[in-house]
């Protein structure tokens, strides 16, 4: 059901772990729904110097976290913010329809981590365009 790329990023996830003195940390998801994603960012001169993640979730959630952290490393904060869930899905060579929400979660985790960084540095958080997919009572 998963592409080779997804399986590769699940079996050999990149950037697993935490950054002790992270400049921004974002956690999204809900354990009740079976997925929580936490992304840690190291930011210097407005550039994502390092990104790491911890994820509780299915194969697609782990692979999405892995791919998302790969995609944003080395980017400016603005470019990292613009990394969409579609970009994650494309880089993973597709996800099954029911797993698309995992890529949305990855995008939201990046946003949450960047906003954490912005708040810590006296900036206004950027308003999230999409509402949290776990806002609803049901897991959708």
């Amino acid at each position: 059901m998963y592409s080779e790329k997804v399986m590769d990023h699940f079996m050999n996830p990149r950037n697993v772990g935490e950054i002790k003195d992270a400049d921004g940390v974002g956690t999204v998801g809900n354990p009740v729904c079976g997925d929580i994603m936490r992304i840690y960012l190291k930011i210097e001169d407005n550039i994502i110097k390092d990104a790491k993640f911890k994820t509780f979730g299915c194969g697609a959630a782990v692979a999405s976290s892995s791919m998302a952290t790969e995609l944003i490393k080395g980017k400016t904060v603005d470019d990292a913010w613009g990394t969409s869930n579609k970009a994650v899905v494309e880089a993973l060579e597709g996800l099954p329809p029911i797993k698309i929400h995992c890529s949305v979660l990855a995008e939201q985790a990046i946003h949450a981590a960047i906003n954490d960084y912005r708040i810590k540095h006296g900036m206004e958080p950027i308003k999230e365009e999409h509402k949290d997919i776990h806002d609803e009572e049901r897991c959708e």
Binding site: M7, P31, G34, D35, F56, C58, I98, R138, C139
Partner: protein, 399 residues
């Protein structure tokens, strides 16, 4: 493909070679339509009747009480809809449980949309129904009780004889979905006062796509499939002769080897459970003793089941999970929620079901892998990180 360790025997079993050999002639040489008059047809008709006798023998039924179907789901649907509509002059109330297979639950939901009322009995932390709850749920409108013999996910064996006795005293039809139980638990429909029983061949080393419904003589039931006069006019359609022959052979083998099968699998099961329980923050789901001989269902806290399945699959191990992600829906298993597991823990469940081809070496192999995989996924889990930081209590289910 490398080594395969198949531990999903509750999903399906391989067809045993003895069963397949018995079936083969009915595809090619003995192909006559059993409803026809010539000798080629009489041969297939006789083969069906022989299978019927074999099924009846293992269940303690009479052969004319066995009706062949296309499997467990059809048998369950036939019972629910057939009994409901044939007896609606007596009442419109059905009692079942929250942990039934979807073939029963979704048929009940369908009936609810058509004027029937259904009570879904809760279960305790082991998955057992409470007989007092059951008795209290009975009304003068109750026409059918459907309680599964053994649960497909957690393996819990329900108090079927007790339910049967109560139904008999009250004059209510009692159906049991015994798809997981046949071949794994001794069954006697007469002694247990069962009026209808569903079974499916591929769960006991027979072919897929064939099953049976035991209907006690005198039970008022409508057909589900209307058409020709096959199966005493109760189930239309040209018989799946090779399948029925395979079912007969498979149930005969299951009946003959039941005791040794149960003894061997129980030993392997308990070894696997014992080994898994050494992993911290793991919990056995279901009853420790009132349990299918081959069923192991555990939850590992802080990890998600599908991830575990993928890691196991990478090493050739086939298992299943009640996690949302592995079920194609987004909610965790209704059974695990019914036994009181919080959803986040239900997502971390793993079911390994052993069978006649499972060896002790297989069990050791899996026990060698699991601690590594659990650690790997926990090291990646933000829930575990928080838990270690907070030092919370151990893995306990909400009551």
């Amino acid at each position: 493909m490398g080594k395969i360790v198949y531990m999903d025997n509750s999903a399906t079993t391989p067809t045993k070679s003895e069963v397949l050999e018995e079936m083969k002639p009915y595809f090619t040489e003995k192909y006559g339509n059993p409803s026809s008059i010539y000798s080629l047809a009489r041969e297939t008709k006789a083969a069906i009747e022989k299978s019927r006798e074999k099924v009846a023998k293992v269940l303690g039924a009479n052969p004319d009480e066995i009706y062949f179907t296309a499997g467990g789901s059809e048998s369950d649907n036939w019972t629910l809809k057939g009994i409901a509509y044939a007896n609606q002059n007596k009442g419109n109330h059905i009692i079942t449980t929250k942990i039934e297979h979807h073939a029963v639950l979704h048929a009940c939901e369908y009936l609810e949309k058509h004027g029937f009322e259904v009570t879904y009995l809760p279960v305790d932390e082991y998955g057992l129904i409470n007989l007092d709850d059951f008795k209290k749920a009975i009304t003068d409108k109750t026409i059918l009780v459907s309680v599964m013999f053994a649960n497909n996910e957690i393996g819990t064996i329900e108090p079927i004889a007790e339910v049967g006795k109560i139904c008999k005293d009250k004059g209510i039809y009692f159906h049991t979905d015994a798809v997981q139980a046949v071949g794994n638990v001794p069954i006697n429909v007469k002694k247990m006062n069962i009026d209808l029983l569903s079974l499916s061949a591929h769960k006991f080393y027979g072919p897929k796509g064939v099953g049976a419904l035991y209907i006690k003589k005198g039970v008022k039931i409508n057909p589900l499939i209307h058409g020709g006069g096959q199966e005493g006019g109760r189930r239309a359609g040209t018989e799946n002769v090779p399948g029925i022959v395979g079912l007969g052979k498979a149930i005969e083998l299951a009946g003959e080897s039941m005791d040794s099968h149960i003894e061997r699998l129980t030993k392997l099961r308990d070894k696997l459970i014992g080994g898994i329980m050494k992993i911290p923050y793991s919990k056995l789901n279901g009853h420790p003793v009132k349990r299918l001989p081959g069923n192991v269902n555990v939850c590992f806290r802080f990890i998600e089941g599908e991830s575990m399945l993928l890691l196991l699959d990478g090493m050739g191990v086939c298992g299943s999970s009640g996690s949302a992600c592995s079920s194609g829906s987004l909610d965790p298993s209704h059974v695990l929620l019914a036994i009181g597991l919080p959803p986040e823990i239900a997502h971390g469940s793993l079911r390994l079901t052993l069978g006649d081809f499972t060896t002790e070496e297989d069990v050791d192999y899996v026990l060698g892998l699991l601690p590594k995989f659990v650690k790997r996924l926990r090291d990646m889990s933000p829930l575990y990180e928080e838990f270690i930081k907070k030092g919370e209590e151990s893995c306990t289910a909400k009551k």
